[in-house]
Amino acid sequence: MSAPVTTRSLPPADASRTARRGGRAPGGGARAWATRAPLMPALLFLIAVTQLPFVATLVISLFDWNSLAPGKRHFHGLSNYATVFTDSDMRDSVFTTILLTVTVVVASVVIGLLLALLLDRKFFGRGIVRTLLITPFLLVPVSAALLWKHVLYNPEYGLLNGAWSWVAGLFGDHTPAQPDWISNMPLTAVEIALVWQWTPFMMLILLAGLQSRPAETLEAARLDGAGPWQMFRFLTLPHLRRYLELGILLGSINVVQNFDAVFTITAGGLGTANLPYTIYETFYQAHEYGLASAAGVVVVIGTIIIATFALRVVSSLFTEEAGRA
């Protein structure tokens, strides 16, 4: 709500007026503020909503505070942090998070690339096929997770085992194996559901990349007698590099924070608890507010370190600018 108010109260960026005031060095004084003004509402809003809570988290993390034992809240120093670093659940969930993120992102990039290459061809009903392929991404994540858990993986009446007994039945086997997917491969089950959801995302970005290849270069290469593999290896892939990096970056940002699928499909059981879920559990099931906050702080610090590297990648993606002076 503050946006119109602030922008109205400050003069608009008006070059001539600033110039009349003496034209100080760019960035100095009123002119700089006039330039900054439109940015301020968004910046202040974001700082207030995303940074202030972390200050609170920091403070809470120094207390032994379990809401189930209301009388016992007291200052606890850094001992919550000691617990975080020695807790094997926490360590396991760090590992799970990394494994989950890497697997999902890599798998969906590879499959997404294959699908994009297919969709880059011309064929009858291409629009419909594209629509089919992006559908998983457009399902509400919770409903997709519920779909996998109950409608597909369920060992009794899920589609996977159902289809298998149908196929086996065709060959006269009436007692086919009916594996329990989620218990047998819990993390893989979560990963498959997530790959299914994220592949269309990668596909769309990579498809955009493919379609932006300069046609003349491709035609020239073809005339030079380059084979399809050579064209892919030496023309398409280098051109796609930035799109791949972009997809990986954006996919990682989202998958690292995944809560819906882990929560829905396994409820964090069977070694699938990732960091968001573990913190959620500490906060919402154990009601250990202090410990949950300490874990949160540690994760934030870890994220900042990783993000610094990630941002370097982004900046290489976005450094060159359009021809605006």
């Binding site: 809470i60 061809r121 051109h239 919402y284």
Partner: protein
């Protein structure tokens, strides 16, 4: 940002079938095979979703058979149960809450992101790239670490179970994405028309609404679409911070797994209905989706 698409060269027109023109019969046959393959892959990939759609029209016993009954008679009973037939909870309040929180937060995001993007792409602040990266970095922070303070804040201010709290949180969740997207879209607005407007004495809000917004309309649409989808899908905040009054559709969905015997058809019907707005919006604006998802880097 445009460099991504053009790789130096001025934006080339889409290659108009130069590549794949099926000149020969052999090429034509190859194209047909590829088409067939693509169709098969597309359908197989979509089977879970299609199965969900089919199951939503089955009766509960038919939905839970093994092997599956594909040809079972169709019925609307799953949908009827979802919409409260038989006395269950009505899905309308959660659907309305989802719509309210998504639409209002999207509007607020646009109101904040448009001027911010102006300051980051048209009349640039110093160190504008640092600001951009600050925005993006907030997106990397784990949401869950802020959950507790937000809960305690909401409890003490009476904002618990209130749609407006979700509006604020969803705005902060989407604002970084929106700023990035809008920044790249506004970078394409010709400076000359803005300067012309300012010479006329127009103030910034007017410039933004009358001059910039119309030119950047497709980009704004893409931004809105993405923000809407992410807000509509959000589960974690809604789960912890809402109860009876502000419950959103995804939270409502999680309550649909009952111990009351069979629930697959109901669950599928519920999933279809809850996903419908996003599906409709996404299908209708597939190109916008690509732009939006890539933070505007892909146009």
């Amino acid at each position: 940002m445009t460099t991504l698409t053009t790789a130096g060269a001025p934006a080339p027109a889409r290659s108009k079938g130069v590549r794949h023109a099926p000149h020969t019969r052999k090429a034509r046959r190859k194209a047909a095979w590829i088409g067939l393959l693509a169709w098969i892959v597309g359908i197989v990939f979509c089977v879970p979703a299609l199965w969900m759609l089919l199951t939503s029209f089955h009766s509960e016993p038919d939905a839970a058979t093994n092997p599956p009954s594909i040809a079972a008679p169709l019925t609307l009973s799953g949908y009827k149960v979802f919409f409260g037939a038989g006395g269950g909870a009505s899905p309308w309040p959660p659907l309305i809450n989802s719509a309210l929180s998504s639409v209002l937060s999207t509007a607020l995001v646009l109101a904040l992101a448009l001027p911010a993007a102006y300051a980051l792409s048209i009349k640039r602040v110093r160190k504008w790239t640092d600001v951009m990266f600050f925005f993006l970095s907030t997106k990397m922070l784990p949401v869950v670490a802020g959950l507790l303070p937000v809960y305690l804040f909401a409890k003490n201010t009476g904002l618990l179970d209130n749609v407006w709290l979700l509006v604020i949180l969803y705005t902060s969740m989407n604002l970084p994405i929106a700023v990035w997207m809008m920044q790249s879209f506004l970078a394409d607005v010709p400076v000359s028309i803005i300067e012309a407007a300012q010479v006329d004495g127009a103030r910034l809000p007017t410039v933004l609404l009358r001059v910039v917004a119309p030119v950047a309309a497709p980009g704004i649409a893409a931004t809105s679409l993405i923000c809407f989808i992410f807000s509509w899908n959000e589960l974690l905040f809604a789960r912890v911070l809402t109860g009876v009054r502000a419950e959103t559709a995804p939270v409502f969905l999680t309550g649909f797994v009952t111990s009351q015997g069979l629930f697959l058809a109901q669950l599928c019907a519920a999933s279809v209905v809850v996903s419908l707005p996003v599906l409709a919006a996404g299908f209708a604006a597939q190109d916008k989706l690509v732009q939006g998802l890539s933070l505007g880097a892909v146009k």
